[in-house]
């Protein structure tokens, strides 16, 4: 569902550009709004959320899918935690559909998906490994790196049970915006994937903005 935001970039309290292949790790307080902008189009923002006060509680794709009875995320979707609480709600979305089935790329899965020779190419899960290693005080470890959201990715499921990777339905400047229902840690890997036609083999930057509670 396409829904425009009423927030102005000029009023944002924080604005960061995340280059492809880098990570973004930021706490967003309950009531604050976070927007991720697909600045140049067809980029994948692989995203995980944790309860900032208790990292054992985290975004759960299975609980989110189960509770909304639908695999796609868009405006109105509530992002559900592993303890069945609402972590965030998508309040605006100009893309219309986001994936939470396909997971994130890793060096190991690249060997399977593309070629054994691709083993050492940069991947989302490596960005996350570095992120949690560089923020040791948060207490996150590999066991917390779980099933994520791929904002701006289009992964349609067919009625006979196939999973397809389609050209993105996103475009330059499209965005998704979420209101936090609890204090959350936002961990994004701006996907470095060079082997997937979804991003036209050209990973690009995303911009992340935060607004205070209105």
């Amino acid at each position: 569902m396409i829904k425009e935001s009423h927030y102005s970039a000029a009023d944002a309290i924080d604005c960061k550009t995340v280059m492809a292949g880098n990570y973004y790790l930021q706490e967003v307080k309950a009531g604050q709004v976070i927007r991720i902008v697909d600045s140049q189009g067809n980029q994948a923002a692989d995203t995980l959320f944790y309860n900032a006060r208790n990292i054992e509680e985290r975004y759960s794709a299975a609980d989110t899918i189960q509770m909304q009875g639908n695999v796609y995320l868009t405006a109105g979707s509530k992002l559900i935690s592993s303890e069945q609480n609402v972590m965030l709600e998508i309040v605006a979305d100009t893309c219309g559909r986001h994936d939470t089935v396909g997971g994130a790329c890793s060096t190991e899965s690249n060997t399977v998906r593309y070629a054994l020779e691709k083993r050492c190419m940069h991947a989302c899960r490596d960005s996350w490994m570095l992120a949690i290693a560089e923020h040791d005080h948060l207490g996150l470890s590999k066991r917390d790196i779980s099933h994520n959201i791929n904002f701006f990715m289009n992964v349609p499921i067919t009625q006979d049970g196939k999973l397809t990777f389609e050209d993105g339905i996103s475009a330059p400047g499209k965005y998704v915006e979420m209101k936090a229902h609890m204090d959350v840690l936002v961990l994004i890997s701006n996907c470095p994937q060079l082997n997937n036609p979804c991003n036209a083999y050209n990973p690009t930057q995303v911009d992340v903005l935060i607004w205070d509670a209105a």
Partner: protein, 259 residues
């Protein structure tokens, strides 16, 4: 189908129950639904490195599938194959909808009351997994999206999910051939999308046997080039051990993987 002569172990997993065991590579597990409407939740870990675990997204996207069935492999997050589905009469198994919880079961079918109901209590999938995981030093943070065997969940063009209970009949079976030593965690609690008018209390039969030797024509390793590469990753993991293995020669996947 399973050759009865090769069975090494047989167990009827009661309804609303949980169990875990280490399964060696080269062993196959045949699971049979005794009654219609059964569900078997399952998770997989590497007992040698518990941080390596079943990864549903990798499993689905490596094989371009939303459902699991014969020919598919179940992948770890490290690019390796825990097990292959060498036989499946049901045709469609879910791996995205997760577990029933205490709250869900209570709201839909009434509380989990052991004192009054004893072995017919309304156990839930989440608590079942948690109980078994804790036996290995694992916990809620280690819970991943699980498989729900015998539960067919379809997706329409708008992404709406539905559990097709008509597909879930008695006597269906699926065989998992283990390609790695694997810690298997399982429960027989209801699927979270079950709309059954009563708590579905369904036991399952579990049989362990020695898997037949894998040939070059193996359906799972030849299912797609991705699976050939997954087998090649397993081969690397057990490098140096394969020659000494009497029960389980590796398939020759090099001709596939290097294409």
């Amino acid at each position: 189908m399973q050759d009865k002569n090769t069975a090494l172990y047989n167990y009827t997993l009661p309804a609303a129950s949980h169990w875990s065991l280490n399964v060696k590579r080269g062993i196959q597990m045949t699971i049979t639904s005794i009654e219609a409407g059964a569900n078997l939740g399952m998770l997989f870990y590497n007992p040698g490195s518990l941080l390596e675990r079943y990864n549903a997204p990798d499993t689905l996207k490596c094989q371009h599938t939303f459902k699991l069935t014969q020919g598919h492999c179940l992948y770890s997050d490290m690019g390796r194959i825990f097990c292959s589905i060498t036989n499946d009469t049901a045709g469609w198994h879910d791996t995205l909808c997760g577990n029933s919880t205490a709250q869900l079961v209570n709201d839909r079918w009434g509380p989990r009351d052991y004192q009054n109901d004893r072995n017919t209590w309304h156990q839930n999938g989440y608590d079942s997994f948690l109980t078994e995981l804790t036996k290995y030093g694992l916990g809620p943070r280690d819970m991943a999206a699980n498989v729900n065997f015998f539960s067919k969940v379809t997706c329409d063009s708008e992404g709406n999910l539905s559990l097709d209970s008509s597909a879930n009949t008695a006597g269906e079976s699926i065989t998992l051939r283990f390609e790695m030593d694997t810690l298997v965690i399982m429960h027989s609690c209801p699927h979270p999308l079950s709309q059954s008018g009563y708590y579905p209390s369904k036991p399952l039969q579990i049989e362990l046997a020695a898997a037949p030797v894998i040939t070059d024509l193996d359906e799972c390793s030849n299912y797609c080039p991705e699976n050939a590469r997954g087998f090649a990753n397993n081969q690397l993991y057990y490098l140096g051990e394969a020659a000494g293995s009497t029960h389980y020669p590796f398939p020759n996947t090099n001709h596939l993987a290097l294409k």
